[in-house]
Symmetry: C5
Subunit: 355 residues, 5 copies
């Protein structure tokens, strides 16, 4: 399971704009890919050096520079200088504990998103921060460089020119990237939904302490998911409202669609939370019910055998003058009495529905 | 019971506007009916082919095209092209996991609603998505094509010309359709209300684990109902506020009425939720009370018989010199002592109200 | 106790504006009373026929027409026609499951309120819907026609000309009616407050399952009360803000007073809700405490008698060579040992505060 | 403890503006004191008759008329007539169940506050309603006339001319009065805070049903405190915003300070509420823990002695052919076996941490 | 642990603006340091006397006067007079129970913040109030004078001229100070996060009453943290919005960054609160589970040994005619029967999963 918190304390005492990487250590090299397109025209290349990115800044075509790996500050610094990014933006890109947000710097926009993957092996969630810079003709994207890339189908669409993507501007590309990320939330939600259904089944058939643990784990997942998705609403909402000239009106309609998806994700997360609370209630009352059942067994046993044991103890006394002991039919009579008592008690318990 | 989630993951990686059906598989054919009316004039027909719908677009009369079955994308595509619908609208019509919403595209409005039916056999809820397109002179409606049609009385009213419906425009028709759908919520709510009353009765007379299960099931139903109704408020509210020229002012008054009904449904759902929580509290405390009762029985039995068993054990000892054993009235005396002890204890328990 | 829901489903499929009575069946005749006043002038009469109401429409004096009994649609229809009411207003008057609301139709206002009565016999609440129409010179009021009329003191004031009521317009009359209704809420609240105090007392002295039932019943009452009062705030607030020319500014000050009372009622209902939750907590923990007490008794008894029973069983064994059995002081010695064990245990339990 | 509700029902049916005293009965005489000051000039007197107050209305100096005791309506009526107060204001002054509020009547303001005193003897809260009228050059204050007066230090400051109070206008006097009242809340809060600390201590060392009762009592106090303080925020906020010409800008800065104090009180009340809920959780789980401890004792005793009692019972059987009974070392052997069993069980329980 | 409340009651009855120290007693001397800088120019000195601060008021360079120790009112009074501070500001500086706030006095701003330190020894939180005055060319800061100073790295940056700090104005200095304080919250949060992880571990392996106590302690810490951080959002938000000419637009971007950090802290505190509630649920259900386990042991033991004890008691009876006692194989037969009964019961319990 991912850590509760990332160590931010190492930044203390540093001047603002200090580029310090906050997040999981990684040894991978930084990988930079460039995609440049306009209508029919399309170029894709892995950047041999950072400097290869610079000339694309002022071209007429849309350029997408994807940086995988954000732990080397000198790369970010140079890129930031070339594209005129504020030092605080670079600092935020390197600090992977940001919450989703959108900041409008006039000639570019800075967007932070969270990519969430469901780890099918241990059922955990993996969160990766994606930072986007939307300029007039370019998009810069920064990923932590974890395994798997949610943008592959998007790249494919760019290559083949499928859909309208190549005819639209940089804002549409950012929309498409956000759409990819949020579509992925549905996969996570479907997986968690399946986990919930499994636990619900188990809650009826065989609840145990591990059921409780599973509920708790899912509740925690919901907390994380919520934390990632909730601020998205505001982010996309303010993008959609189209206050910036960087976002065209026709893209606004598409952003409204992403906005709807976000609301849908939030809705589902809230529904799951409600259901998990309900399941916790059921679990707790099933524990009480089982305690009840155990106690009934104990009470039935004790109530039947205590009087009987008393009777046999009675005739085990060594008094000299106990007339019953001399009777010929004494023993069978006592046996008979005890059978009657036991039978009567069983009937009583049946009536009380304890058996 | 309907599934928690619909598989949306198959859409991942597709460009926006891809027409992919999300929802339950269905084999029924797509059925298209056309109703065209204006004052005294009225025509109703089942469309022999899709193309039959096209000429109605520019007539002066109000045209209602109802499409039952949304799993065939080519039909939607052609219809969308003819009536100038945005690809995202078509995509949303086919994805049946939308939440209720209203989108204003200027020359037409797109409204998504949820139709809820109460399945009397298993007490489950069945949800069907209805999408409406309101244009200047036409209304397109899309249903998933499940059994039963809530619009039948409306059609009847159109045929007979009862009420003012034939004298009003397309916006009034949309209002009438929304009214039909929301009126149906009252049926669902009445049925759930009856279920709640049955459980409340049972909670007093004979609560058991199945009572808990029923409460939980109803709580879940409330979650679904709430999810369907809550966004309606905003949808109808923004329709009513009359910002679009497609909705006339006189229809606005009617929409305010539907708005009231929606608030009433929401109110009732919230009341039900409150009541269900109260019932859960009662159930849980009845479990505790029963545990208490069981424990009292056990304690009474043990408290009476343990001292008695000790006494009879005492005189079962084999000491050589035990004067009481030799006494002539020893046995009856011990019996007497035990009766007194037992009686005294019973009195004590009566006083403590344990019996 | 009043029913959870009123049957609204019979309205399904009817065109809007259909006059269908929703609510309890009643056999009483419809009774119409007319009061007409202006300064010194005052007339009061029971209308012999509906038509008697019509001439008052255009007089200069203030006319109050009170209709008791709303189950006959033809009466409402005619009245509505004469006074120019919208069909939806008539429909809402007949449907007694409305929530409190205010609708401004320009030349008249439509106000729905709930009258709540406390039934001292069974402690239940009785809710009656009152609909008011405020026009320029007239007020129409519609009651369900249940027993008791909260407007009697108001009528008396009109008759005697006490206070300023006869000098003011129709808006002041409506204010006075709302004031009467909301003043009545205080009676209900005082009665419920007394019930709460009785239960609180009982919670300390002798809590039982019926205490829980009482708490639950009161919680339910609060839900209903809240449902009736909460929307009132908005209703009176929007009246007070004086956006309509029908409400004069001097009446606005009085409405602010009613508004304050409404807030006070809401406040008290919320306080009661908080207190009832607290009482539920106390009840539940008193159940736990009693379980603890029961278990302590059981444990004390078992802990004292089990070792003793073991000891007497020990000397009840039939071994040939058991030297203690032959000792002359064996029996008293064993008795002594057992007394010491029992005493020591009692001291232990005293220390643990179990006794 | 003060009553839950004050009897408001006696007002039912009275016309608005009826002066009826709602609150605790009191026999004290009404006491009226007049303070009149301006810069160096200062006069203080107890009014011999009500009429003595009238001439101060139009003086240039600031006049503060304090009325202690509000149960005599004729006094209020005359005063109200002289100072031009609205009948509803007089009605609200006499009804001591108002919630804090501020009403702007143009040439005067009406402010209702709650004075809270902590009764050190029984730990209860005592609430007294204070009504203030702020006019251009005068302040009228109305108290219920309970013991103790929070305004004494303020009067002293007026007498000695300490601080800037004599140089400022009537609005500053009202500010100073509100400040005195809210400062007093801190005393109440400190006392309740000490009670909470005492209970927290007890919760660790020796929790019992009375601890629960104390928590419940404090929770109730919080409900009352909150009810008194919460609306204050709005009252002072709207005063501070300076919309009325009666409040000068320089006093506004001081009101902001009172506003801050109010927020601080509200904050603390909320913190206390959170802490009390936490303490309730701890109490409940300590009850469960004690039940657990009791049950463990019972189980340990039963588990050790039941097998032993069985063994001694075994050798108490009277079968003719029981070889062990004849063995010479039979008795010591059985004793030994039982010691081993008991020891092994004790070790087991130690391991399970039940001992 | 720091006290729940600071004694504010000693201020009661004092005129507003009275300088009374509210907070922990301290014996340290008041220490005043002056830093004055502009671009390359830098001076740092400990003020020999208070008067040394006065000449810096009107210089062109940025002056930072840091006052450590706020318990001596005469120092504050003189400083306040020189820099033209409102008496209420001085009063608030001395009262260390303020909540974070920002007040704009036109030519200077008054900001109150809370510095939080984590005491690693006892896991407690230590809160120190920091008051800032931002003027045109100067910043005054007031600390309570507790150990440790969070501003040391900031001073170092000023000395070395690292970063842009020396090139910017007084507003940037205030930003840098706020940034230092809020960065410190992350350290506190990381420490609390580690505590939470330790407790979570323990909750699975070995939950006990001390686990509950730890959860409760953390919940309390969260309440305090929340109280300190929550109002910060509004404070920084209103600073950032740039309504005052004292805050330049370029500093606004930096303030937005601090704002983001504040939101992040609030978010984490809320997440922790959610997690702690979840952990409480788990703890409580683990208590129930253990009770269940204890009861099962008891029931198993009782259910096995009670019938057996009955059987041996049966053959311990002293009836004259009990044929079984005479049988040669009677004893082994009874032993056999008992073994069978015990074995069957064990199998039953295994099936029920009680063993």
């Amino acid at each position: 399971m991912h850590k509760l918190l990332k160590k931010r304390s190492k930044k203390i005492g540093q001047p603002p704009g200090s580029l310090i990487h906050i997040g999981d250590e990684t040894v991978k090299d930084v990988k930079i890919t460039i995609i440049d397109y306009k209508d029919e025209q399309f170029r894709e290349m892995e950047a041999p050096s950072l400097e290869a990115c610079f000339p694309f800044k002022d071209t007429d075509s849309v350029t997408w520079i994807n940086v995988e790996g954000i732990h080397r500050s000198e790369i970010l610094e140079k890129l930031g200088e070339c594209y005129g990014l504020h030092p605080l933006v670079l600092e935020d890109i390197m600090a992977t504990d940001q919450r989703p947000k959108m900041e409008d710097f006039g000639d570019y926009m800075f967007i932070v998103l969270k990519m969430i993957k469901y780890n099918a092996e241990n059922g955990g969630l993996e969160i990766e921060q994606v930072s986007l810079i939307l300029g007039k003709n370019f998009v810069l994207s920064f990923q932590e460089g974890k395994e798997g890339d949610v943008f592959d189908p998007l790249r494919e669409r760019l290559r083949t020119g499928k859909g309208r993507i190549r005819k639209m501007g940089a804002d549409y590309l950012v929309y498409a990237m956000m759409d990819s990320i949020i579509d992925n939330y549905f996969v996570v939600i479907e997986n968690l939904g399946e986990e919930i259904e499994v636990i619900e089944e188990k809650l009826v058939t065989d609840p145990g302490p591990d059921t409780l643990r599973s509920i708790h784990k899912l509740k925690r997942d919901m907390i994380y998911l919520r934390k990632s998705v909730w601020p998205l609403r505001e982010v996309i909402g303010s993008l959609e409202r189209g206050e910036s000239p960087l976002v065209t009106k026709s893209t606004g309609i598409y952003l409204r669609d992403v906005y709807d998806h976000t609301i849908q994700v939030i809705d589902t997360v809230e529904t799951f939370r409600d259901m998990l609370s309900g399941m916790l209630d059921i679990y707790l009352s099933s524990v009480s019910n089982r305690l009840n059942a155990v106690m009934k067994v104990l009470t039935v046993i004790a109530t039947i055998f205590m009087p009987l044991t008393f009777i046999v103890g009675l005739y085990g006394m060594n008094f000299k003058y106990m007339p019953e002991l001399e009777w010929h039919w004494g023993y069978p009579a006592v046996i008979g009495v005890m059978v009657i008592i036991a039978a009567w008690m069983l009937v009583m318990f049946k009536r009380k529905k304890w058996l």
